[in-house]
Structure formats: structure tokens, C-alpha cells
Amino acid sequence: MERNKTIIILLLSALCTSVIAQSDDILLDSVSIDTSSMSAETAESPSALPAFPNGTFDQMLQGNFAGVHAVQASGQPGAQMMIQIRGMRSLAGGNEPLYIIDGFPLYNDNGLAISGLTLGPALNALSAWHPEDIQSIKVLKDATAAAFYGARGANGVVLVETKRGQVGAPMLEIGVQLGSMSSLTSPQLLSGTDYATFLNQANSAGGRPGQINSPAAFGAGTDWTNIIQDNSALMHTYRVGVSGGSENMAFRIQGTYSIKQGNLQGSDLNRFILHANVDARATKSIKVRNSLNIARLDANTIATDDNGSGEQLGVITATQIFSPLLSSILTAEDANYFNVRVDDEGNPTPELQSSQAYVNPLALSTAIDSRLVNTRFSDYFGIDVSLLEGLTLTGGLGADALFNEESLFIPGALEFQKSPGGTGGGSRMQSIEWISDLRLKYKRQFGSQHNLSALIGYALQGYRREILGGTSRGFENQTLRFNDLSVGSGKFITSDRLENSWRSLMASVDYTFDDRLQILLTMRSDASSKNGGEAMLFPAVGLKWTVSKEGFLVRLRLSAGQTGSFAIPSYQQFTVIDEVSSSLNGVTINGLNRVRLGAEDLKFETTRKINLGLDIGLFADDLFLRADYYNEVTDNALTFVPLAGQTGYDLTLANIAEVANRGFEVSLVTRRFGQKVQWNGQWHLSANKNEIKNLGATNNITVGSEVLGRDEWSILREGESIGAFYGYQSELRDGVINYRDLDGDGQITRADRTIIGNAAPTLVFGFSNTLNYKGIELHFMLQGSSGSDIANFNSLLIGNPNGQSNIRTDVLSTQNPNADLDLLFSDHLIEDGTYLRLKRLRVAYQLPKSLVEKWSMGSIKIYASMENIWTGTKYSGVDPDVSHFGQQHLFQGVDFGGYPKAHQIVGGIQVQL
């Protein structure tokens, strides 16, 4: 079958070689098919919206699009986002959307873009693109839009186009931006005096020694959070670019160098990005287009978002739990214990309160060397040949090569168990993803009312990732750190290689009658090596009926179809033999065993989507309302299914689940009221209801990665939404926590657990406004979500007055000192995550043309902007916009020791010469 289709494509191509056609625009058609006319929502292309200063372009997805739930998972420079479009579908694979950047399809898995040696959350792989190089972002959500991306479109598609040269005289652009940062507020912890008093109470109540005679002498004590903050953190960005174009050639070359120091000491991100786009007409009928982005990212990271397992060291957790009685000048060597006892002068006594190790936060953030360098080359070259009138052959070749280097050195004094000599490591990862595609497009108008366009094509895409890394322990001399791992004694080497490939065929027909009725049919066949190459068809149909046009636009949209997703690692279908080890007689013996049962008959996850849409435009679309209702059902959702013990395996991957998402979205766009004042406002509101319809033979699967020893804190259950928190119900009585005995058997067992919250928001909203008056531009944006819960694991430590660590002030006043609440995962940890945030405020001034021309310049714009200005929330943690587990959507809504986001204040100037 596939072979035949290929032959048809080739024959059709060959038939058309001899005819010459004219084409006027030197820019190619968008390489990706423009389905925006049919899509439930494309864009509101935020080119009108200013880019986030020194951020990543995917931050623009937060609050600017209906149906998009975006969480900035961390405040670390270049930190990752978690993005869901119309809810979650997969229980084992990825739920992130597919990005198409200048025609190149890319699934953004931050974990694959690093080798994973450095501390802290993964770097956002999309930070290789500078947000100011982005021309437009469109979000495709419904079946017709996503069906063009077939087996990878179910989670939505984000179409990104970068800026290109325009016809005109060459223009030099220079931009400078300067800014500073300070962390969002931390939880209010006990002062020195209060902590000493609290410890005295707790110790006497617990019958422990260690009374401090004069708590008042400690005063405020050491504010560890303040100590590791870098309040002088700066960011600066320098951009130089040239763009221009003539009849036959247009180009834009832009260089960016930016430095972003973290608001916590020891972390930063330096970026050098070269972005170069060229469009050229080679002959009258042949056009070429090249999009190139080269980025070098150089980051120092620190250990935030630890899991509290002891082996991992967490800076933020350490700042919160460390005794305020300890002096901040302690070095790593003499303060490895967060609750070391002190005498009346604050000197540590040899006696410890508990042996749980936590290195002091200052040493953690400054003495550990954790560095990442990513170099990424992304290029897509397209060629467009007009064969005869209306018939165009479009081909493209693209490659995205990523070279990653990571280095880590933890000095011996900081290590858990104080291993002498420290630990060092280095790793190198390289990956390359390539694509080759060819399309034949036909477009013709019949008469004055009939427009027809059709397309057939194919695409091949391949991916290879290789990794080589080594760690070394017990350095005899620690001077050289990771630069010479041979100095260490215990050495460990890892390497890995994975590949996968995709093969796709596509066809579509688009018919429009009188600009009033449009019918779009698409069909795509995809096959992937990840399940052995079996092809699957993804069809979709779309109808658009413009009921009335002039002055009062009313348009109805309907689409239905099937899309897929298969965002799982390669090779899941194989039963894998791997090393296991133990020792006999003190000597390590390694064995090899089938550690994983191969997943049989893996299929694409398929999502059936139905979308009903209504557009209403008033006053020549100055007031535009877009409303959508959607209903999506994902069959064959991939799930890690637990296996009965007698199989000898814990779980296996299978397409067993059925997941439904349904909801509505409303966007209201207003613009240009008045002559002098221009106003562009966007309101977006979306509601999604997620439901696990079917979970195969098992109705319940407990999941949840370990945090502070608690795992299985979430459950997948038929009839419930993904993201349910699963634990005990509790109540505080006289400051003592009591768990509810739900099954009434007289004791608290695991059978007493129930659903105690859900991380998925019911409503997500954004509101952005841009006002223009005589060259002054004011922009502000509010965004937020409601109905979500957050599991605040920080409360296990700073919400627990057991005398083991510092605590929040509110805990002291409401609870019984010395009550040990550090027990089970219960609703005691669950908080309402609803929030509304004033995300941005920006003022810009475009200098009057008369003045600028006097200086022989094109334009000058100055601006000032602030980010994360105000947040309204009941959440007691630092930030309700949080995702401890980053892109692991199943484990969303967890807060534990994360890197706090910053208030940013930025000023800049853009000059065109």
C-alpha cells in the first residue's frame, strides 16, 4: 500500500515538470499547511504582545490562549514549562504539545535535551530560541488542525514562525535591555528568639535535653532564605541584527547575547543565539527558504526541587528547615546538620538533635559546581517549485542537532555520609533529529465562487540520541574537580543510545464556496519504529459556514476527526536484559536478568475530537467573540499497568485506558476603539473536565513519585480526573493530627485512603491589554487558574512542629508545639491552588519620528517592564504556579523545595538605524 502511494506521488510530480508558472511573493507559503481558517483557535498571534524579557517563547502560552494550561515549573533561569492543551490524555506517555518551529516538528521533552547529571530541574529545551525572534505563535487544538500532524497531534500543536526579512532597505537593529530580580516572598518562618523558645518547649515536652537559657539573645536569628538570595542579580541582553530584502532576496540575521543571573546565588544562564532566515527566488519559479537558529546555552544550576531522599540535596528546603540559631558564617564542614543544637552563644554543640543530613544552604548553593552547556543547531531548508498554474512542489530538509555537556562536582564535605574526596562527574549527550518532506499542492479557483486546494505529501523523520557519562568518587585531591575524573577512585561509566523514526503520508482537500462555506478533508497515515512500524490512519473533516459577513459576522465551525500521540521512550516493546548486582563474600557479583517485560502490541494513542465553534464579529471585527465546545475521547491511552506479583514484574506498558476531555473556551478580542487611543484587549477563559472512562481490568492504579518518603499519593481511578491526590482525611484536634478511619475497622490502614483533592484546574484564564496613545504603549496581563489543588509537601517539614526543624509562624500559633504531624500523606498537605496574578506590566515609548529622523535614525523605542508583580491566592507556599515534577503531567500540582520565581524589573531600548 505505502509503496503504491509513493509511486502516485512521484508520478504526479513527474507529470508537472515542463510547465512554468509565475509566482510573485518571494516568501514561500508557510511550510506548514495553513489550517488557521478551520482551526478552533489559531493564534491571536501574540506578535502584538511583547516577548518576555530574557525568557522562553513558550511562556507566551500562559494566559494568552484559551484552552492552554501552562505552568512555569520553576524560577530557575531558563526553567521549564508544563503545558497542556485541552487537558491530559496519556497516563504513561507525554502530554506536551507538538511544536512546529518554522516547519520542523519537535516534541519538547526537556529530559531528552539534557544528560541529567546537573542538579535542579531540567533546562527548558526551548530556551534555545529567543522570544524576540518569534514572529507568531499559533495553537492548533481541534481535529482538522491537528490531523495534519497525525500521530503526534493529539496533544495540540503549537505553530511557531520566526521573524523573516521584509522587502526594503537593509536595516540595522540594536537592542539593549537591563534588569534586576528579587525572589517572590518566602514563607514566614520563626525568628531566632521564637525558634529558641519553641525548641525549649518542644524539648521539655519531649523529654529531650537542650534548653537554651536566653532565647531573647538570638533576636531575629539567621534568615537563611535571605542569605542565599542574590538581591543584586542582574540580567542583561544585547541584540544586534540586520534585515532587509529586495525583489529576489530577503534576509534577517539577529545575534543575541544575554546573561541572566539567578535570583538565588550560584545559578545563572548565559545565552548566545544567532538567528538567520533567508528567503530567495532562485529562478522565476523556484524559491528557497532557510531558517537557521544556533544557540549556545551556558548554565550554572543549583540543587532545588530535591525529593528529600537524603541522597539529593535541596537548597530551598535547607533554607526553610535550617535552624535560625546557627550562624550564617558556618562553612560546609561544620554545619552538615540542619538542626544541630547550639549553646547560648549560638555555637554548635557536639550533640545533634537528629542525624538527618542536610548541608547548609549557603554551602549547597555556592560550593557545588553544577554546569550545563547546550549547543543547538536547528536548520530547515525549504524549496518551492511552481510546476504549472496552481500546482506547486514543496520540499524540505531539516536537522536539529543538540550537543550537551554537563559537569558536576560535590565536595566531600557536603556529601551525605561525608564521603571523603567528593563526587565529580561529566557527561556528553548528542542528539540529532532530521526531517525530509515533500508535498505537492494544487490550488485553483473555478469561476468566481469555487476555490479548491488539495495536497498530497510525505514526511520522514528520524531521531538519534547518544550519551556518554562518567562519575568518580573519593578524589585524593579535590583541586581539579570534574576536570580530571581520573583522580577519583570509585569510577562509574554510563552510555546509552536510542533511535526512533517516523514515516508519514498526508493528503487533504479544501473547498470553499463563495467565502461562505468551507469544507476541509484531511487524511494522514503515520508509522513509527516505536511500535514496530505499523501504520495508522488519522482522518478529519471540518466545516465552516459564515452565516453573515458584512458588519456583523456570524460564523459556525464544526470539525471532527482522529489524532494520535505516542510520546513514549523507544524500545518499550522489547523484553530487556539489564544488570543487577549484589555481593558475595564482600565481592560484587553482577548478574544479568530480564528486568522489564516487553510491552506487546503497542499502538498509537488515538484521540477522537469533536469541536463546535461560534465566531461573532461586531464593528468590523473590532469586537470579536470566539466560543468553542469540544469533546475528546482518547482510546488506547498508554498506561503503566501494575502486574500481580507472581509475574515477577511490577508493571507493564499497555494501551488500556480511555480518557475523556470536554470543555468550553471563550475568547473575546477587542481592538481599536477610538482614533487617538488604540486598545487591544484579549480575554481568554477555558474550562476542561477530564475523566478516566476506563482503566481496563484494574479500576485503580496508585501512582506518585516519592517525595520525602511518601509515594503513591495520586490515583488513577475510573470516573475520576487525572491528577487526583490520594491519601488520608485528617483533622487537627488540640493540635494533634487525627486520621479518619474510613472503613471503620478501628485502625488506620492504607484502606482508609481516599481522594482528597485534584491538581487539574477547572478554569484557566488570562486577560491582556495593550493601550496605545501617541507612541506610548501600556501593556498589562493578568492570568490565573481556579479549582486546582496543590500538595504542599513543604508542610511536612516547616508545617510540622516536632522540634526537628524550623517552622512557619502560623503553625506555632494554631498547633500544639511538639506535635509530630510528620506522618502520612493527608489532606493536611492539600491546599487550594486558585490564583490570579498580575503577570506583566510594561510601558513603552516610541520616540516621535520627527525627533528620530533629526538624529538620522529609523526608530527608537524605550520601555520598562515588570513581571510577577502581584499574586492573589490563599496558597500558603511561595507560588501557586508550580510543578515540582516539571513535564510529568501525572504528578502535577506538587510543591516541594522549588526554585522561587522572581519579581523582575527590566528597562531597555530598541534602536533601528
Binding site: S18, T283, G395, L498, T575, I577, Q646, T647, D650, I748
Partner: protein, 497 residues
């Protein structure tokens, strides 16, 4: 100008066609790709080296397990900790509901410990089944093949012996899991399971050597197989067979009691002649899972080391010792002197597993878990002979008294305690052996088994733990884990749960 365009276009189209055909072809191949950095099942179990590695994997599942597959071995921690706290020997040291429930005999099928132990054991069964199924097809030296098969039969027999004692009716899986049809295997009766245990251990007894040399030291021996057969028969009250197999071990001449009870637990003596079968652990900075969990679980929190006292001994077990009994001061400590002279005092905690000279930091532990020691063989022998003959014989006295005699010695000094026993009736002798077993094997994974098989669980536990109620009929087995019943509805729960 215009005339040249068709050529260029034709060229481009030709190029496009060539490129697309070539990439299509290459991609067609690529879609069937094989993983290059993963060993798949079809590439393994072919050579003698593969056979050895497959058998090693079974040992690895007994001890540390492995961090990359995310589990701990059968004897890593919960096995012996559960034997300690679900008896009169220990209680939970922290408020973890799982251990508190076991300690107070309030556990139900959702208990995490009994759930994990079930899974760990069946994983090991599967590893053994893989080796047993594949090794016969490998062309290799016959004697090595025979030995390797003996080793995995030993381990499988051992695993089913644990399963049948802990859970009673268990699915008897004897083939490797290749697909989910393995779930069709239903629970076997204890009798069927025991027949399999005996059959596996007899193959091991026949195939395995008396001792090993070099890097093979620590592997299962014929003596270990005989000793486990003795334990199996003892559990089944087949006294003559038990005595005979204990006698077999004694007759190998490969084992002896160390002179001082303390020396057994020194890391240097992990493979001493006292050890009939041990589970290897090592103090190893690089692989945290290969170290045992003895120190972290047993040593008191006040010690200011990596010591969390997750389980603590009962006063009852501490008081079961004569003050001069060498085993009491080795097994427990109530104080500790730091190097700077500071003296810490605390309630009795288990200290015997901490080799203080070898691992002063106690941060991890390289002490092995002794699954079966020679003193056990002697005590099994004494017990079996006493039962088989309707009372103690001279050889029964000798076996028991050898263990008591050793406990009188602190280095070279013989203390006036634990005199040799004589003139006991059968019941007194039976009680004496049980008491000796308790003192000899504190927290060595024996106590709950001993109490259940002697029918004294209720009596002893209730005496040691006031307020705790034991239902002998119910608590002679642990519950089939609820997780297993949820995933395999054909499983039938044990009575009372």
C-alpha cells in the same frame, strides 16, 4: 533566460525524486530498528557466561537487589525486620503504620511490608525460573551446568519455602514469565508447594559442591541444601528426615562454631565456617544498595550516626538472657562511649550487626545476613532427635550443649553460666531448644517461624507485649496482599483476613 528554467526544474524534481526514494527506502528499514544499547532476550542465554550471569542475577535478588531496577532484595531488610517485630522479640521503633500494625498484630492485607515481601520473592522466583528454563539449552561444560542448575534450584526451593511458610496457599509458578498467561496459575496447596521445595532442594543437594574456592565462595553448597531440607522437614514435623539432613551437614566437616559468639558478626567473618548460607552485603560507597540496612534500622537514634532505630527489641527478649551470657552483650548494648569519652546511654538496642572497628561511622553496613548458621544446624538436630526418639539422646544433648558452651566464652574466658544440660524430659528439652534458638538468633529472621511452627505464637507474644492479642489460627499466616487480590481476582485470602 526563460529557456533554461525547465532544466533546472527538471533537475530539482529529479533530485527530489531520488532523495525521496532513497530516504523512503532507508526509512522503511529504520522502522524495524533494533535497540543497540539494550540487550534483548533474543540475544541472551546462549553461552556459559550468560548462564553464570543469569544465575548471579538470582543471588542479586536475595541481597541488595539493584538500584537501577528500583527494588531491594528478599533478605535486604523487611524479611528479618518483620520476623523481629511480628513476634516477642521486637517492636516498631517509629510510628510507621505498617510496622506498628505488624508489631501489634493488627495488620491487614494492605500492609506494605507483607505486600513488598511477596513481590520481592516472586521476582526472585522468576529469575530462577528463567535460568532453569534456559540453562539446559546452553552448550557448556557439563559439570558447571550441573552446578549452576543446582544453585538456581536451591534458590527457587528457598523462595517457595519462604512463600509457603509466610502465606500458605500460593501460586506455584515454575516457568519464566513471557506473557500475562502466567496469571492463570492458581494457588497450590501447601502440600504441593512443599513437594516442589523438597524436589528443588534435593536437586541442589545432589548437584552442588561441598565448598567453593576464590570468587565463588558464598554460593549455595550441598551443605546449605541439606540444612534447608532439615529446616523444611523440621517445619513439617518429619523429625527423622530433619535429623538425618542435619546430620548430613554435620558430616560434611565443612562447618564449625566460631569460638566466640561476637566473632560471627565481624565483617571479616562473613564467610566463616559457621555460615552455612549467607546473603552477601558489602560496605560500598558506590552502590548504596549493596550495603545491608542493619545499622540504620537497629542502632539507637541517640548514637548520632546514620541510625534511626526503626525497630527496637522488647524488654522480654533482653531479659531472656542470663547476665553473663556472652550473647547478651554482643546482641544488645545499653550505652556507648564516643571517642572523646562522652558516654551515651539508652534502652537496649541491637548492636550485634555493627562491626564497630570496621565501620566506626555506622553509615552503611557490610555485615552479611546469615540465613542459616551452623549453630542452627546443631539446634535443629537436637530438636529433631528429641522429637524422633521421644526424648533427648546423648547426641541431642551434645548438639544443644555445644551451642550453650560457646555462649559461655568471651574470648578465652569461660564464664560460670549456661551449664551443660542433662536429665531433661522431652518437653523440658523442647522448651530448652526453643529458648536457645531465641537467644542464639535474635533478629536473624527466625522468631515468627519458630513460634508458629511450635504453636507458641499467642502465648509468647501476649506475654512479651501486654495489650496485644494474637489469634493463633489467623496469625499463623500473613494475609495474601490486597494488591495481589486486586490484580488477580482468582486469589483466595487466608482465613481471618
Amino acid at each position: 533566460m526563460k529557456a533554461s528554467y525547465p532544466h533546472i526544474k527538471a533537475l530539482i524534481l529529479l533530485l527530489a525524486i531520488v532523495v525521496s526514494v532513497l530516504t523512503w527506502q532507508s526509512c522503511n528499514r529504520a522502522l524495524d530498528e533494533e535497540p543497540r544499547s539494550l540487550l534483548t532476550s533474543t540475544l541472551f542465554y546462549r553461552t556459559a557466561s550468560d548462564a553464570l550471569l543469569a544465575v548471579n542475577a538470582a543471588y542479586d535478588h536475595l541481597g541488595g537487589g539493584t538500584s537501577n531496577s528500583g527494588f531491594s532484595g528478599v533478605y535486604f531488610n523487611l524479611y528479618w525486620a518483620m520476623q523481629a517485630i511480628a513476634s516477642d522479640d521486637g517492636v516498631a521503633g517509629i510510628a510507621d503504620p505498617n510496622s506498628v500494625q505488624l508489631s501489634e498484630f493488627r495488620f491487614d492485607p494492605s500492609n506494605a511490608w507483607t505486600t513488598e515481601i511477596w513481590q520481592d520473592i516472586y521476582k526472585t522466583v522468576n529469575v530462577a525460573n528463567i535460568a532453569i528454563a534456559n540453562i539446559p539449552n546452553i552448550e557448556m561444560e557439563a559439570s558447571l551446568k550441573q552446578r549452576l542448575l543446582g544453585e538456581v534450584h536451591f534458590i527457587r526451593g528457598l523462595m517457595y519455602f519462604e512463600l509457603v511458610r509466610l502465606y500458605g496457599n500460593v501460586p506455584l509458578v515454575l516457568t519464566p514469565t513471557v506473557d500475562l498467561s502466567i496469571l492463570d496459575i492458581l494457588q497450590a496447596t501447601p502440600e504441593e508447594v512443599y513437594q516442589q521445595v523438597i524436589s528443588d532442594l534435593m536437586i541442589a543437594e545432589t548437584n552442588l559442591p561441598v565448598t567453593y574456592t576464590g570468587a565463588d565462595i558464598g554460593r549455595a553448597t550441598t551443605g546449605a541444601a541439606s540444612a534447608y531440607l532439615a529446616r523444611v522437614y523440621l517445619t513439617r514435623e518429619d523429625w527423622a528426615q530433619a535429623a538425618e539432613h542435619a546430620q548430613k551437614v554435620m558430616a560434611t566437616g565443612a562447618y564449625r562454631l566460631l569460638d566466640d559468639y561476637r566473632d560471627i558478626f565481624l565483617i571479616a567473618n562473613n564467610s566463616s565456617k559457621e555460615i552455612v548460607f549467607g546473603i552477601g552485603f558489602t560496605f560500598n560507597n558506590d552502590a548504596i544498595w549493596e550495603t545491608s540496612q542493619f545499622n540504620v534500622r537497629t542502632l539507637p537514634v541517640d548514637l548520632n550516626r546514620n541510625s534511626l532505630a526503626w525497630e527496637i527489641p522488647t524488654a522480654d527478649v533482653y531479659n531472656a538472657f542470663d547476665a553473663l551470657d556472652r550473647r547478651r552483650e554482643v546482641t544488645f548494648q545499653t550505652s556507648f562511649t564516643e571517642s572523646d569519652g562522652t558516654v551515651l546511654t539508652f534502652e537496649p538496642h541491637i548492636f550485634k550487626y555493627w562491626d564497630q572497628a570496621a565501620e566506626p561511622s555506622a553509615s552503611s553496613s557490610g555485615t552479611d545476613f546469615y540465613a542459616l548458621r551452623y549453630s542452627d544446624v546443631l539446634l535443629m538436630h537436637a530438636e529433631a532427635v528429641n522429637e524422633a526418639n521421644g526424648g533427648p539422646t546423648a547426641e541431642a544433648y551434645e548438639s544443644l550443649n555445644r551451642v550453650r558452651r560457646r555462649a559461655r566464652f568471651a574470648e578465652d574466658e569461660e564464664r560460670p553460666t549456661l551449664p551443660d544440660l542433662s536429665n531433661q524430659n522431652q518437653a523440658d528439652f523442647r522448651a530448652a531448644v526453643l529458648l536457645e534458638r531465641r537467644r542464639e538468633f535474635v533478629w536473624e529472621g527466625q522468631r515468627w517461624f519458630d513460634l508458629v511452627r511450635t504453636g507458641s505464637l499467642k502465648e509468647k507474644v501476649e506475654a512479651a507485649k501486654p495489650g496485644v492479642t494474637v489469634d493463633e489460627n489467623k496469625h499463623k499466616l500473613f494475609p495474601i496482599p490486597q494488591r495481589e487480590i486486586d490484580l488477580n481476582s482468582s486469589l483466595v485470602q487466608n482465613p481471618g483476613y
